[in-house]
């Protein structure tokens, strides 16, 4: 028992409408395969764990609390010691004239 082609095409059309696929009885290469693929970008981009729990983030989250950053404290203390011994960093030269003076001394 043979089924006429037009009937099969009608069936295909309904199938495509139900399953949301492209009706393509001539089997043309439409590239709809690519549009059907899921985007993998978000899962690819979240491979490495995010950086969480830094002191700066905590300070932003809880502005009313005080957090002590030991590394920063050590650094500030070191700077203060250096300043008291007169070994601080030179002041930043803001104008061209100031930086020229330095060159002349050389």
């Amino acid at each position: 028992m043979s089924v006429p082609r037009s009937r099969i095409l009608d069936l295909m059309k309904t199938q495509c409408a139900i399953f949301n696929t492209t009706y393509n009885p001539q089997r043309l290469r439409l590239g709809s395969r690519i549009l059907h693929q899921r985007l993998k970008g978000p899962s690819v981009a979240s491979y490495y764990p995010p950086r969480i729990g830094t002191i700066a983030q905590l300070r932003k989250l809880y502005p009313e609390d005080t957090f002590i950053d030991e590394k920063e404290e050590d650094w500030v203390e070191h700077l203060n010691v250096a300043r008291s011994r007169g070994k601080e960093n030179p002041k930043k030269k803001r104008t061209a004239a100031e930086s020229k003076k330095l060159n002349k001394r050389k």
């Binding site: 043309l28 290469r29 439409l30 590239g31 709809s32 395969r33 690519i34 549009l35 693929q37 985007l39 993998k40 970008g41 978000p42 690819v44 981009a45 491979y47 490495y48 764990p49 995010p50 950086r51 969480i52």
Partner: protein
């Protein structure tokens, strides 16, 4: 490429240049995936005029290499290694062993019979 790199360190775990670079590539890929797919669709669609498809091919080849998925590589998040990485655990074989024995990986236990 430094123009894509985050200005501030944004990944935790083990950090080395290669991991940061790979993370950058992943982010760039995710950003440009839709555009790439659109171009790929135009190229594959044989009902579009040949000129349009050729232009799309040119556009796709002109895109930065970081937008390509083949640039992405699974690296160990605990040791930065690029080889012997179990993709299920995102860890290289030795880091996997250490963490499994330490009990950090739920459901993993040393075989014994």
């Amino acid at each position: 490429m430094s123009q894509f790199r985050a200005k501030k360190l944004d990944i935790g775990g083990f950090i080395n240049t290669r991991n940061i670079r790979d993370h950058t590539k992943r982010k760039v890929f995710a950003e440009n995936e839709a555009e790439r797919n659109a171009l790929r669709f135009i190229i594959r669609n044989t009902t579009l005029p040949q000129r349009v498809r050729a232009q799309a091919q040119l556009e796709l080849s002109k895109m930065h290499c970081y937008t390509r998925f083949t640039q992405v590589k699974n690296r160990c998040i605990m040791g930065g290694r690029g080889r012997g990485v179990f993709s299920d655990f995102r860890m290289a074989r030795f880091q996997f062993r250490i963490n499994a024995i330490a009990g950090n990986l739920p459901g993993v236990r040393k075989a014994s019979w």
